[in-house]
Point group: D2
Chain length 338, copies 4
């Protein structure tokens, strides 16, 4: 039985507690938050847990094997490092840190101590994204041409991170999971409409060594909520609409065929192909529940998850490069480490 | 009665003929196309018109006062210059030329000869775009924050122009019409997935002197057709979906309120506001019919249309800058003339 | 070459002329309408045709082999009988007559003279309905359980027939085509909201000898246009949405499984099954074009079409029974001839 | 502080407990269910409550002022009567009883003892239905012409009641709330596709003394979930789509105008009118929370709710008449008590 401590009981913490409470081979031992009223809420829901206002005390508890960290981004590094140094396995919210340098130190610390360091890239545990992964792996789409995502809604404006660190991070973690190919450079543009606040709209293009291209459109100031991703391939194309109650993933048997022109051998003739559309049945498992189980399994069996510290670091490196490109008004910036 | 000659009877020419045939105070005198079978088709539909395979002969006809040019983009300059030099008013397809330099010379020629030079920015004559213009002018949206458009579909791949010159040109003409503010720089990225062919996906960010930002996503390789534009303002926000059979324009009484924080006067508190949505009733007039009427009126009354050569030039300048930025992988390029 | 005369050039007549003009092995020889301005319109579009204001004169022309009748419903019988008696094959709009008795006499006349009598059940020539027919025939849906159609929009109110004769007739012709099983009784209810005018909303239930049930909801006073049909089967279910630009037909691999309860052998346990959704690719052929070709083929080769006079009679018999049931406020009325 | 006991902790009971737990001036004292594992679940969630397996013991508790009954329909009468006889106020699930005769006896018992008897017509507490009520009351729609509802989905098949008692009851309670006018007769048809089980599809037409008509289409065997209601009026029309995440209610400024024909004074000319569409902002309050508050208020202040026993009885009377009509294959059956 893995004893879990949850640090941070704000927006996301309750979801972590609820899912670890139901995970196999684990139990939630304690919750920590600096706000007593949040702890009271946790206590009323889970009378058996202990509560702490200081994470140091929680980290000192011998019946806690692993912690899940859902505190503000700028605190991830300190809290996670303290946890690792206290010998606890760590699941940390995304983005895992505010800089690649911090992320690297967290990885080093975890590896030195042979502890699990997992980053909560929740979306890669959704039935939709896992189905898409399988579709791509099975070659149903052919070669991937593009990934184009729109992730916009009204709110919630944040003060310490911009819309890229808040919303685009989801797409970056999905991309990291779906494509073996990793982006090498990024061009990003954005704008703030609230004086003194971070960018609330941003547009990101990711370049790869191949002719794959990825684009992410994020916006905190949209009249409607959109969560739509198109993935185009040489053979088929796919639309993933996370707002749809069912049929979130639709595969279109559409595309182009290329063949050399008879008149001009240097020219390719493009013809269009249009066939059936198919929406595969998706499981309805909650993503965070699957991820909690995977974390427990990794801790128990000393197994490396896909979304380990290295995955988290890859995402943070892109975020850093995007921030730099945005300052340069779109000039492409190389992504470190590739 | 204004005598109209239509040069080019391929994809768009028949629409021009049909609409000028029904326009008040005008009649279609002649059609020109190099392909005899296209002329035979025109003749069977309009037995009374004359046909030409050489535009020079058409331009020599004294009963033709004005020509509408629907030939390939790279021929616009030569055909339009010949028409102006023959003393004919000109309506030319968009983009009006392959370079700003050509566009400027067309403007100069028309002004020297006191002839109308109109560029076929059809979308600005649609009931939807005209309604949006009125909504913005009436201040319903407040200050404009962003214009974000997705214009994607499967096909038609073109060989001589990329997807920006083919599809984004629509958004550039709409933007030029809607906003008094003009973009000063552009960051564009794109990719070709067919060896040797122009870019088939592209992403464009337009910067303004203010904090307005515009973004355009165009793609010839999309599994579904999307024609959706969001316009965010300080007071309300709007979605324009041109695929919708009715309710193409939806105005959302949603947004944010800003007020100084009591604790920190340098910080603004953001609160959200959500009210009714309204879809104004739109006329069903065909845009090209309205534009044909406007062209005839401008020729008859010596009136300047909104979409004159200068509007066409503004669009071509952005296209040129976008092309350059795309080569630079997104680095911002200043737009000439602003 | 079959010579075609079109009688009635109002709303539908122009579509008949256009499609027969392009049909193989046929040519439109003449058009008849009592309104000279309608004939002038036809003449301007088709300079080579002859025009008549009196159908008797058209029917006397020896170069006309067959006529298409698109006059008001109450005139179908007289015009069609005159045509048959003049030795012309007949394509008549739906519903073919105002009573089953008239329809039977039309059939008898045509059979006596060995002439084709076809009823314009256009929908059965649409790619969507033909695909559905194939799906059902291939057994993809299993046993059919129900057909449930909603066909509502704003307008056009008619004075001589109610909404059942105007809109439900489409569903009755589709049902007649799709199901080998024929309805035996009908329960219909409806209401008029304009004093002195026929019913503008109606609801129809069709009973079969088996446990199939069909339901049709028609309304001239709906705020939105709906053309949606659900067909439930023992194995799969289907949604046919004719408003969708593509993916008009969606097949859901969903349903119930039944197995005897272990505790109570007289009771069936119901479990649910949910699998993929598939939207088959559909051709984009115009239905009326296919139907015109079929009519020409039947005339030329002396072949019986599916939608012959007997199909038209089956539909009129249901319309008659529905009218009687509506007067009885829903009491089931037997359908004649089954 | 009103002490609440909840009887039945199956599908709906937990929602009752959760909402009463948060209601003002009330507290959940006890939960009763015959299944110990359900009680264990309730206890784990609410450690402070008492649990019972026998409702008689719960009803004997002096600290319980009122009970909410969420047991199977056929038990409502016995449980509610026992509760009333024990002096408890009663909130009972819909339909309130299996017969009008039972419902009437429940009303009589409550009135004799001056106790509240409320029927859980949850939908009339939704922000959408309350907004529609206000729209109708304000005269925005003009005279009501029709109410047409489709409420279909896959599952859950029930063994003791048919789809009318399960799903149409929602529409009957909404209609009862929205329209002052009450239906006088009903025509219903339906079909069972599972041998030995109740009808799983049904179609109901309700007749009124005026020219209002209502229609309800319910189905347990639909491939897609639909919750759509259209309400047509003489002035405007409305679509209520409960599946929509926002904009559940859309008001269309569309309809017909009638004026006497100049040629024929006995005939009305129908013209169409089409204006804006508006989707009013809706609160996001949970309906059951509002209803729980209302029940507590009624108990506390001895106030009659809208959805009292009489409302419940009106609904049951329609259900009874519909059941009879269905046996008669659609023949209209008078509704008792009007």
């Amino acid at each position: 039985m893995i004893g879990i401590g949850v640090i941070g009981y704000g927006y996301w913490g309750p979801n972590l507690v609820r899912n670890f409470a139901e995970a196999k081979d684990a139990r939630v031992v304690a919750v920590c938050d600096r706000r007593p009223q949040r702890l009271a809420l946790a206590q009323s829901r889970y009378p058996a847990i202990r509560t702490y206002t200081d994470e140091k005390e929680l980290l000192a508890a011998p019946d806690i094997d692993a912690v899940a960290i859902a505190t503000p981004v700028h605190t991830h590094f300190d809290v996670a490092m303290a946890a690792l140094q206290a010998g606890k396995h760590v699941l940390v919210e995304k983005p895992m840190a505010v800089s690649a340098e911090q992320a690297q130190r967290m990885i080093d610390e975890a590896e030195k101590r042979k502890l699990q360091l997992m980053v909560d890239h929740t979306f890669i545990y959704t039935p939709a994204v896992r189905k898409i992964k399988q579709i791509i792996t099975d070659g149903e789409l052919g070669d991937i041409y593009y990934y184009d995502s729109t992730r916009v809604n009204l709110g919630l404006f944040q003060h310490d991170v911009n819309v890229v660190w808040d919303l685009a991070v989801h797409d970056l973690s999905i991309l990291d999971f779906l494509l073996a190919d990793k982006p090498v450079a990024v061009s990003a543009t954005g704008m703030s409409h609230v004086p003194g606040e971070p960018e609330n709209v941003a547009y990101i293009t990711l370049f790869f060594a191949t002719n794959v291209v990825a684009h992410i459109n994020v916006n905190w100031l949209s009249p409607v909520k959109v969560r739509q991703t198109m993935i185009g391939g040489s053979w088929r194309m796919l639309v993933y609409d996370d707002i749809e109650p069912s049929e979130k993933v639709r595969i279109y048997d559409r595309g182009i065929n290329l063949k050399p022109s008879q008149e001009d051998v240097y020219r390719l003739l493009v013809s269009y192909r249009s066939g059936d559309m198919r929406a595969p049945h998706l499981e309805t498992t909650e993503a965070l529940r699957m991820e909690a189980d995977e974390f427990v399994r990794c801790v128990r069996d000393n197994h490396k998850p896909f979304n380990d510290g290295h995955a988290g670091l890859r995402v943070v490196r892109i975020l850093e490069a995007a921030a730099e490109s945005m300052k340069l008004r779109g000039a492409a910036v190389q992504i470190a480490g590739v």
